[in-house]
Subunit: 122 residues, 2 copies
DNA sequence: CAATCATATTCAATTCCATGTATATGATTA
DNA sequence: TAATCATATACATGGAATTGAATATGATTG
C-alpha cells in the first residue's frame, strides 16, 4: 500500500491479524491450542509437518503476539495470549458453514512430560 | 502450500476468507457497505482512491462471493451477500480493541440518483 | 565439557499479491 | 449511431509470503 488513504489507516491493525490468520497450518495450530497450552512436539506429531515448518509458523503467530511460549525442561509450551481470537475463528467458521472439531480422539503421543504421564496413567 | 497435510485441508475455506479480509481498503469498503448497498462512485468519493483501484478491490470481494452487484441506470450498486461476515469484523475489532465507526457525518456527494435526491431534499 | 535433546533460525527459490497505468466495456442519451 | 457516462479489465512491475533444506541455539544430562 503505497499512497495509503487516511480512511484506511484505521484498518491496518485488523489487517495484520487477518494476515496471520490467512494460513491453514496456523489456523490448525490455533485450533490445537484451543484447549490450553501444548508443547511443540505435540503439535508436530499432531499435524505431521516437519519440525522446522511448525516452528516457522509458530514464530509468525508469536511475533504477531497471538501466542506466548514457556520453557519447561526440554520442552517449550505455547499458549494463546488473548482468547478473544477464538471469537474471530468461531465467526468465520459460522460464516463458512463449518464447525471444526479437531479429532481429539486421535491420540497423539510425544515425549513431553504431559503426554508421557497421561500415557502411563492409561 | 505444496504438500498439504490432511489435517489442514479443512481450513482452506477459512483461509480464503481471511485472505480477502487481509487488506485495509477492502475492510474499509465492507464498512461502507455495513448500512446497506452503495454505488461505486460513492465509495470512490468516500475513500478518495482512483476509480480503477476501487473497482479492483471490489472485484476481489465480488469474486470471493462476499458482495454482489446490481445495475441501476448508469450506476452499479454493491451489497454484502451474507451479513455474518460482520460478526468476523466485529470480533477482530474487539480483539484489537478498536471500534470503528466510519465518519458518516462527512457527507460525500456523488452523482448517483440516491445521493442527488438526498442532497436536493436538504 | 561433550553429547543429546527439543526447538529456532537462516537462506534461497518460488509463488502470490499489490498496485499504477492504460484501455475496454456496456448502458445511456442526444 | 456517436458521444458520454460509470465501471471493469488487462498488463506489468515490484514486493511480500511460502516453504524446503541446512544449520544454529541453548537447556539438560552423563
Amino acid at each position: 500500500m503505497i499512497d495509503q488513504d487516511i480512511e484506511t489507516k484505521p484498518y491496518d491493525l485488523q489487517t495484520q491479524v487477518f494476515r496471520v490468520l490467512n494460513h491453514p497450518a496456523r489456523l490448525a495450530l490455533l485450533e490445537i491450542l484451543r484447549d490450553g497450552e501444548h508443547c511443540v512436539c505435540h503439535m508436530e506429531a499432531y499435524l505431521g509437518f516437519r519440525q522446522s515448518y511448525i516452528s516457522q509458523q509458530l514464530a509468525v503467530l508469536r511475533e504477531a503476539g497471538l501466542i506466548q511460549d514457556r520453557r519447561d525442561g526440554w520442552n517449550i509450551f505455547y499458549r494463546v495470549v488473548n482468547l478473544d481470537i477464538y471469537d474471530v475463528l468461531d465467526a468465520v467458521q459460522k460464516y463458512t458453514g463449518q464447525s471444526i472439531n479437531p479429532s481429539k480422539e486421535q491420540v497423539v503421543s510425544c515425549n513431553c512430560p504431559n503426554c508421557v504421564s497421561k500415557a502411563n496413567r492409561q
